[in-house]
Symmetry: C2
Subunit: 265 residues, 2 copies
């Protein structure tokens, strides 16, 4: 799968792409089955909400379930990533499902991923791409990501470490900066049917509201980073930044479907 | 001002009406000037956020500022209310601005107003109408009201008193009921430009998310209730349910504009 020139232009301009229903209902069903398995595990990669104790993030899941091992190497993720980065030697930096349980899911403060990748993991440059697929329909009501379009163009914004708002310590962007960036081009909420994919870069400022609705919101995420730009610090747990720098190779397009061959043809 | 038959039908079916830009920019400017005055007051009717201490709700403001005294008797509120209730003897039950400060405004849990009006104030029947006007543009990003359309048709849902989630004790609807009601017709977020008005009934289930955006969200609200259905308990402060049962008379349509005559012609 290749992105079109206009998709690439839009990515450079906005800092993100929304790809409606990139994965089929059958593929999403396989992801949901696998999600139920990993969420039920008592695993240190399952990080729970501060208030409710529900799983907020399940990490390292490509090492915990074959479906996520395949999804991490899915050509609809890997090929656009290689294309956008102009680099076919990428490693799997992080693999997770961020969930927002109905009525319970809490916010993610305004942040961009490179603040953490750089400070915590010693990643030199903001090159990593975050590739998402929705396991549930995502609407304005169940905690979509909010993107600040164009915010990646200003270079990494200044950040402060917030260890109190939620259970997950996060380098967050200060309010004056958010107000200035959002004042230019507004905010965009990344919504769509289950199977919809997102691609966004390492300095795009984003956040997300809580889920007040009666509908769960689960999103799978894989971060791919050039091996030439790999982590230089190993202070966080392995499931937050993997040390295995094996280059990712795309599998076959049908790799998530039960009877399909796994290897690329 | 009269509602059209199709607006009345929609109100009966959905439980609410959204009236885009019912008030002009000049009228909204007058409301904003008045809001700045009442928010700056040290008044027991100014209820503050649990976390930030910012004003969350400013109550009794028709007794604190002439602009809100007039807005409470504005014909674009009073005449539709009389029309929907088939009753021209209404009293001013409550007058407030609910604000959600940029970055700070917290949620309102799922609730309907009659639960509080009945239990706390001894109002016999769910007849009161809640009439809103936006002092700011309200989008999906700055904490709009979420309505469950048709939820008023099921009669008052069961409720429990929540005294912990925010600074404002509230009789809230349980999650199973919210899930069942929202499962029928989904959710609607009440958004629009400043000056947009809302009318909704006493058993319509609604809630609202926090304001993560850099944009304030202020909404004026007046609750009008038939005098024949008046409060029978005076346990809450006067600013939460006024005891003055003087019938409301509509002023002139231009009453908010500085040089205009106040009395109806």
């Amino acid at each position: 799968m290749k992105l079109t020139p206009s998709q690439i232009d839009r990515f450079r301009e906005d800092g993100f792409l929304i790809l409606p229903e990139l994965f089929s209902p059958a593929e999403v069903a396989a992801m949901r089955d696998a999600a139920a398995v990993v969420f039920a595990e008592d695993d240190p990669g399952n990080i729970r909400e501060k208030l409710s104790g529900e799983v907020r993030t399940a990490m390292g899941i490509h090492l915990r379930h074959e479906t996520f091992a395949r999804l991490t190497r899915h050509p609809r993720f890997v090929e656009p990533a290689m294309q956008l980065l102009g680099d076919d030697r990428l490693y799997v930096q992080q693999v997770k499902i961020n969930t927002k349980a109905a009525f319970e899911g809490e916010i993610w403060q305004w942040h961009y991923d490179f603040a953490t990748h750089h400070r915590e993991d010693g990643v030199p440059e903001p090159l990593a791409l975050n590739l998402h697929v929705f396991l549930d329909d995502v609407s304005e009501f169940n905690g979509p990501l909010y993107f600040i379009p164009g915010s990646h163009k200003h270079g990494p914004a200044s950040t402060i470490l917030d260890t109190t708002t939620t259970s997950y310590p996060l380098w967050v962007v200060d309010r004056d900066t958010v107000a200035r960036l959002a004042g230019e081009r507004g905010l965009v909420s990344a919504t769509g049917r289950a199977g919809t994919a997102l691609i966004f870069g390492d300095t795009l400022v984003h956040g997300s509201p809580p889920n007040l609705s009666p509908w769960d919101r689960r999103i799978f995420s894989v971060i791919l980073n050039p091996i030439a730009n790999a982590t230089t610090k190993a202070q966080r747990p392995e499931y937050k930044h993997h040390r295995d720098l094996t280059p990712v190779a795309a599998l076959a397009d049908a790799c998530l479907l039960a009877a399909a061959p796994v290897a690329a043809e």
